[in-house]
Amino acid sequence: MSDAYILNTPGDQQAMLQTIGARSLEELFAPIPSELRLNRPLNLPSASSEIELHQHLDRLAKKNVSANDAVCFLGGGAYDHFVPTVVDMIAGRSEYYTAYTPYQAEASQGSLQAFFEYQSLICQLTGLDIANASLYDGGSGVAEAVIMALNVSPKKHQVLIAESVHPEYRQVLATYLVNLKAELVTLPTPKGYLEPETLRNALSDQTACVVVQHPNFFGCLEEVETVASMAHDRQALFVVSFDPISTGILKRPGDYGADIAVAEGQCLGTPLSFGGPYLGILACRKQYVRQMPGRLVGETVDRNGKRCWVLTLQAREQHIRREKATSNICTNQGLFALRAAVFLTALGPQGLKETAELCLQKAHYACDMLCRQAQAAVRFERPFFKEFTVSVQCDDVPRCLSGLARNGYHAGLHMGRWYNWLNDSFSVAVTEKRTQEEIDGLASALAFRLLHMQKGGA
């Protein structure tokens, strides 16, 4: 077996064995009963050389298409946003890239300071009082926020969630709630947003929280201020899943009445990466801090009066509170929280605003072009930000989309995959990276593809 990838030489092994007084490696396994021993080598191929390894991994990697290989108009929670080089430069530093969990404050000041800055930036972004050091992703963020709301009002068990929230976030939520005393009610959104009447009829004294996504999975804006006041009138919490980039142009969750705001933070400085790892953002009003899940970094002073950082309010967490903990999460997405912090700092409020404006303008231009050139129809009469849903004259949207992929356009997400009443529609996301040329190209490719399919083409 090649020792090329194993650091310890036989000489190192001998020295270690001698130090602990063992005669052989075999001697260390002696306490294991012989009937439990495998007694043969593992059935592994022989080690590859570095050249062979590179070739193998290259072949595997080439099976994937990256956002750089075709024009990406895909959305639905993860987007092809610009990642400034400075993010890779800072996050790639080995002190950050390989740092492990920050429970020993004396050894983790660098990480803890970075997470604290991230938390502070998220508070600015959301207009809420406290943010945690991050969760896994947008979907589990929704689940954690709902569990928070159920813990804030232990006598209430009903959760109202709009159908316009990401279907996979709703699936994750249902999974988290399966063994809890909670009634999950999905409110229909046939008009592409949660209508106030629908919510009014569903709210009760048993409602712990109302959950919407803004902008929602269809790309449409929700009536967030109305939802907030209706929820509060019934003493229910208002949970919103928001788009971090949208805060460059839309009101912040805290300013329109959200009690808990969660988000998928991939858009803040992390590439698509085939679906992950991503970043769960969570922020809330300060009266809910004791129900917050996850790590919380606090700023304090050491015994010499010097400013420093620690993980705080740890008695919420499972390593202390065990089965009564606010959540079983005992980690955070440190590297991605750092990337988000660098991203937000590099862009600043002005940069974020410009990014949001570019997304807005380009998405509206794209929508216009698709409608004019390819007879697409806007599916919902609602304002939208960087994503929108269109229906087309086509009885096989998935085939149309794969045809467009062969033409070099990842044109969008087929809504029929999750909503059978939207089988003729797909959503298109347009970020600041998309050029006029790319958008015009999509419009004519779609027009051509639809015509081709109408004429019975493949």
Partner: protein, 128 residues
């Protein structure tokens, strides 16, 4: 409250009965063991509590301990001052640091709880 006149649970809560109202707190032994109390979670007036079941929590930096009800009944009063300033529990566990008042069924007694002397014996064997 005179500690000698109180009754005690095995989990270090004390109880004093007056009519059908039982006042509950934690003993000075428990308060000393806890070091710095950072937070205390108490029920609301109107909540019902069950004997030997948890009715609240006391939190320090490194641990969370349950508070066990010595009797069953309905909470009539909660010591908000102790909830807001947990230091009170350490400085005056038998006095201003009381925690809740519970209305019990008429005819209830505290006989199932330990006397002061028995409790002292218990903590003498526990202390190390």
């Amino acid at each position: 409250m005179d500690p000698k006149a109180l009754r005690y649970t095995k989990t270090h809560e004390w109880a004093a009965m007056s009519g059908d109202i039982v006042t509950v707190g934690i003993s000075n032994f428990a308060a000393d063991q806890l070091q710095d109390i950072t937070y205390i979670k108490l029920p609301a007036a109107g909540d019902s509590v069950t004997a030997d079941r948890s009715f609240g929590e006391i939190e320090t930096v490194k641990a969370v301990s349950d508070l066990y009800a010595p009797v069953s009944g309905t909470v009539t009063e909660v010591n908000q001052q102790a909830a807001d300033t947990p230091e009170l529990i350490k400085s005056s566990p038998f006095g201003d640091g009381w925690l809740v008042r519970i209305r019990v069924a008429p005819g209830s007694t505290l006989n199932h709880l330990q006397s002061y002397d028995d409790y002292q014996k218990q903590i003498a064997s526990e202390a190390h």
